[in-house]
């Protein structure tokens, strides 16, 4: 099983969610985060002084999928989230040791 963490532009999130549902990924955890890679922030003005805000709002989507689904999930995210500009985000993949469905205590890929 693989955990896919995708950090995407907030404006692309709806498209990403739909694309993932289309390829059969239905469980996900979504959080609002702030961060940046190489993207510059923006300047704001307060009482005539300018200052840079370089922590930008992003959406983080986390999902755990079966190994066989990993590539189609990544492709779906890329299709939906990519604009070609700096600030599009990143995708990270890690291994998952165990998964358990709390309701009925299923384990392994059946719990996904």
């Amino acid at each position: 099983m693989k955990k896919i963490e995708a950090i995407v532009q907030p404006s692309r999130f709806d498209a990403v969610k739909s694309a993932l549902q289309e390829v059969g990924v239905e469980g996900m955890t979504v959080s609002e985060v702030r961060g940046h890679g190489r993207q510059k922030g923006h300047t704001e003005v307060y009482r005539g002084s300018e200052y840079t805000v370089d922590l930008l709002p992003k959406i983080k989507v986390e999902m755990v999928v079966a190994d066989s689904r990993k590539d189609s999930a990544i492709q779906a995210i890329l299709r939906a989230a990519k604009t070609g500009k700096i600030g599009d985000g990143k995708i990270f993949v890690t291994n998952i040791d165990e998964a358990v469905r709390i309701r009925n205590e299923d384990r392994g890929e059946t719990a996904l």
Binding site: E44, R47, G48, S49
Partner: protein, 475 residues
Amino acid sequence: MRRRTSRLVLGGAVFLCLLPFGTFAQAPPAAGTAVASEVQDRIAKLEQQVADARSSGDNAWMLVSAALVLMMTGPGLALFYGGLVRKKNVLATMMQSFILMALITLLWALFGYSLVFHEGSRFLGNLGYGVLHGVGAAPNADYAATIPQQTFMVYQLMFAIITPALICGAFAERMKFSAMLLFMVLWSILVYDPMAHMVWGKGGLLNASWGGAFPTLDFAGGTVVHVTSGVSALVCALYMGKRLGFPKEPIPPHSVVLSVVGACLLWVGWFGFNAGSALAAGSLATSAFVATHFGAAAAALGWATAEWYAKGKASVLGAISGAVAGLVAITPAAGFVGPMSALVIGAAAGVGCYLMVTKVKSKFGYDDSLDAFGVHGAGGSLGALLTGVFAVKAINPIFKNAQGAASAVGLIDGNAAQVLNQLVGIAMAWGLAAVGTLVILKIVDVTVGLRVSEEQEVQGLDLSQHGEEGYNLEV
């Protein structure tokens, strides 16, 4: 409607008065005298009713005005200042305004009103009205002949409340709550009460209505409220020092949304502050109302334009600050100047205060956190000065010559010397505020300690001073 009815009533009374002379001229003297005195009684009663009706209108307006001015402090100023500080200090900042609503009321009731409005010396009243003795339903003709003195007292109380609250903008995010309370008690007694007495109290040195030695025109408190609090704010900012991280770290407002709401409440409330200072519901109140509104409008445009030109964008914070600056500047002028002059005063304040808080503040590097000096101190001084320029007898014939006719008031009226009188009043306010505040800061510093510890400042005043968090939005 009331005017027409009262005129009809009066006309009828006069007719009735003349009737006996027409129809009973041949009647025996006894009957004629009885009717005549009955008519006199009725006229007297009618006159009383007319006076009561007029009082009723004035009193209604003044009570509403008092409520409007209180609203300026809570929630107006509480929101305006609250939105400008960091989230961790929002409650503490609002508490400073709120608690003064209670604290100053107590002081005013016990002796504050007396020290300001009872006769005494040229600098301070005596305690004749202590515990509001003698302040009841009967009007005090020295100040406002058509409303109960109690109305006048409670109206003035709202001014006494908001003035110290303005100072909090200077030491936001770093003063101990206990220190602030002690500071405010002392400031109210040592700075506000004398200044208010000098300008508004009978026998006051600067009183323009009663031939004070240096008659300073101050309709609603440009010097008494804004210059004193603004200069005190500057002294506090300099004495207490900058916030941790200032000016390297940007410390932007946590919610300009709250500040916008607050500023709008201030604008609306200011009609009570300025137009209510006419102390009656007549045409002078209207004139002050219009001047107030025009001043705010011109200043908002002035600041926004200046900022747009200088920075490429007109910020919302700038626009609302501009409006407040205009309201401050028009405060001393409201009941003395015409509407077009109000536009000029507003525009000058908008641009002038913009330069104060951007250029001057950054040049000298003091941390007047919420621009209490830049807006109130500077705006108030500018407004008081321009009052001497634009005041005209056509609006308010406050000066009379030896024959009792109205004489020139301000510069454009033909009395350039008034500008000098204004300068004296402004200088008095600066001097009293600066010296008084310095002394008080020293006392409080030595007894209670002014500033919170570094740890408390980092943690935030809401937690460290009040044990609370402003927003508990987590699940």
